[in-house]
């Protein structure tokens, strides 16, 4: 077992502000969130902040609790303890949070167009018959253009490809101009080209609209070019900060409770479960293994 005293201090992560004290552009604050299923703690004291205009990656393997965390933020999951604070919407009645689920199964024959689904994002919860409204149509057209979905706005939702459906779901979530956008594994079912395009789109939306974007993924590599901060989730706990601060051998080893190696190959990062013995970090850059060193 490695000698604890010899290990360097893990990079300091920014303290979440005390409840009641919030920074001006802070949109989401999760503080010591705990969610238990029966006797099992899926989330055991998770804390982090997401700010407007920043794209944050929620990284963790399958089963780490990413979906539980997102559902808790949405209010669909009741936490055992801890707080979640979301800044109120831009307009008084606007929605604070937009949510893009993973790919949804749709009947190809369903007589609903992409633009109809997006329109339901505006008022899908309201009772009564909707009257045709030019302003609503303009809102829908605008958001469809901003995600690059105008070409297939009139196609059936069940006929859309994976990438096209992703854009429509993003438009559905954005149409009420939320301050926070949550995406659950948006890249999981996409081919490489679509993956790249969606990542670029999300980056652009984050900057243009100054929204806070939280993307969950099990592989951080496609997000590396655009990710401002990372929340790394493992064993029910999380470490947050910039990629360089968080994705380091000693930080993740402490998080996992066992030795893991962080390997950088060209511009990719690989987190590998430890093989057993620990040969120590490279002398040049503590905390990072470089292939070809020994």
């Amino acid at each position: 077992m490695p000698d604890d005293a010899a290990q360097p201090e893990p990079a300091a992560q920014p303290e979440p502000p005390a409840p009641g004290e919030s920074q001006p552009d802070q949109v989401l604050a999760v503080d010591r969130l705990e969610v238990r299923f029966g006797d099992r703690a899926v989330l055991d004291g998770v804390s982090f902040i997401v700010r407007a205009g920043e794209l944050t990656g929620l990284i963790g393997s399958n089963g780490a609790g990413k979906t539980t965390l997102l559902r808790s933020i949405l209010g669909l999951q009741v936490p055992g303890s801890g707080t979640i604070t979301v800044a109120p919407g831009v307009r008084g009645h606007g929605a604070s949070i937009g949510y893009v689920p993973q790919k949804i199964a749709l009947d190809p024959d369903l007589p609903v167009r992409a633009r109809d689904l997006v329109a339901l994002g505006i008022d899908g919860h309201r009772l009564g018959i909707p009257l045709p409204s030019r302003s609503r149509r303009a809102m829908v057209d605008e958001v469809l253009a901003s995600v690059g979905a105008t070409a297939f706005a009139d196609a059936r939702v069940g006929h859309l490809s994976g990438g096209e459906q992703q854009r429509v779901l993003i438009a559905h979530a954005l149409v009420r101009q939320p301050r926070l956008l949550l995406l659950d594994e948006p890249l999981a079912n996409l081919d490489l080209r679509s993956e790249f395009e969606v990542v670029q789109l999300l980056d652009q939306l984050t900057r243009d609209r100054s929204i806070a974007v939280l993307i969950s993924a099990h592989d951080m590599n496609p997000l590396l070019p655009v990710m401002d901060r990372i929340v790394y989730l493992a064993e029910g706990r999380a470490v947050s900060g910039t990629t360089d601060e968080v994705v380091r051998t000693e930080v993740l080893s402490e998080l996992y409770g066992q030795h893991v190696d962080v390997i950088r190959v060209h511009d990719r990062i690989l987190v590998a479960a430890g093989g057993g013995h620990d040969s120590g970090p490279s002398p040049d850059e503590p905390g990072v293994w470089t292939i070809g060193e020994h």
Binding site: P101, H125, L127, N221
Partner: protein, 292 residues
């Protein structure tokens, strides 16, 4: 064909067709054809119970179809939807068997409740049918948006604050109302034909939801009119024509979709090939740049 007692028939049948077309839009969108078949059969047992208890048939119909709707909704929490529907169906029918065995004056009505006797329906039934029909349409209109969203994706509905369980129960109650209304007219075994064939056909021809709804009503009305007209001439049962025309409309719709789809996918293949032939759009496809 259009004189005297037949007027009632045309009026009642049209009302039933309009309501069936409206509700059928969601039956097809939600994949609830089994429930649309099961509730009328369950309601049929209610008529037997009513005869036993000495109350009006309509009370029994409404009571048992609501019971069935609530039963399916509750059981769906524990079991898959099709298993829940099957179990509720057989339990209600089992009770119906029991009630039928206890009352002997009921037998002659069975055929008409199963297969319908729309030709010769009495004037007095117009009012309750119209009222129930209006209730159905209002229930759908009021919940149009949340029901549509929940039908497309229950998950997106939940996120918007629309409980999928509550929408399912609401929809099943609407089905119960249609059932009670249409049973005496087209019969237990065929009311659902009107709720399945016409909407399935309509949605093949349009991708806009409100147009599909209107189309569903149109096809249902035309189906019923044609069925009554031909039945009047041949004396063959109305239900036969409803079933056959409904199936025919479905196949026409399916063929149309297939024809359009083959055309469009050909176009898509050509468009995709053009993109692949060109150079990649950005250099980043070779590898992601360094993280910030």
């Amino acid at each position: 064909m259009f004189s005297g007692f037949m007027v009632t028939t045309w009026v009642v049948a049209t009302v039933v067709a309009v309501v069936a077309g409206v509700v059928g839009f969601f039956v097809v969108a939600r994949g609830s054809a089994f429930a649309a078949h099961a509730l009328p059969l369950g309601a049929f047992s209610g008529a037997a119970a009513a005869a036993l208890a000495g109350v009006s048939t309509l009370v029994g119909l409404v009571g048992f179809s609501v019971l069935g709707a609530v039963g399916i909704s509750r059981l769906s929490h524990r079991a898959r939807r099709d298993v829940a529907t099957a179990l509720v169906l057989v339990v209600l029918l089992g009770l119906g068997a029991l009630f039928l065995s206890m009352t002997s004056e009921y037998a002659p009505e069975i055929y008409s409740l199963l297969f319908g006797e729309v030709i010769g329906v009495s004037t007095s039934s117009i009012t309750p049918i119209a009222v129930l029909g209006a209730i159905c349409v209002v229930m759908v209109a009021v919940a149009w948006r949340p029901l549509l969203l929940s039908s497309i994706s229950p998950e997106l509905g939940e996120v918007a604050g629309v409980s999928s369980g509550r929408m399912e129960l609401w929809f099943l109650l609407v089905l119960a109302a249609v059932t009670a209304m249409a049973l005496p007219v087209v019969g237990a075994l065929l009311v659902f034909s009107l709720m399945v064939g016409p909407p399935a056909a309509a949605r093949s021809f349009t991708s806009k939801p409100h147009v599909a709804l209107a189309g569903s009503v149109l096809v249902a009305v035309v189906t019923v009119w044609a069925a009554i007209a031909v039945s009047y001439q041949t004396n063959w049962p109305v239900g036969f024509f409803v079933g056959i025309i409904g199936a025919g409309a479905y196949f026409v719709g399916r063929s149309w979709s297939w024809w359009v789809q083959t055309g469009r996918s050909g176009w898509r293949l050509r468009r995709g090939a053009a993109l692949r032939d060109g150079r990649p759009r950005t250099a980043s496809l070779r590898g992601a740049p360094a993280p910030r």
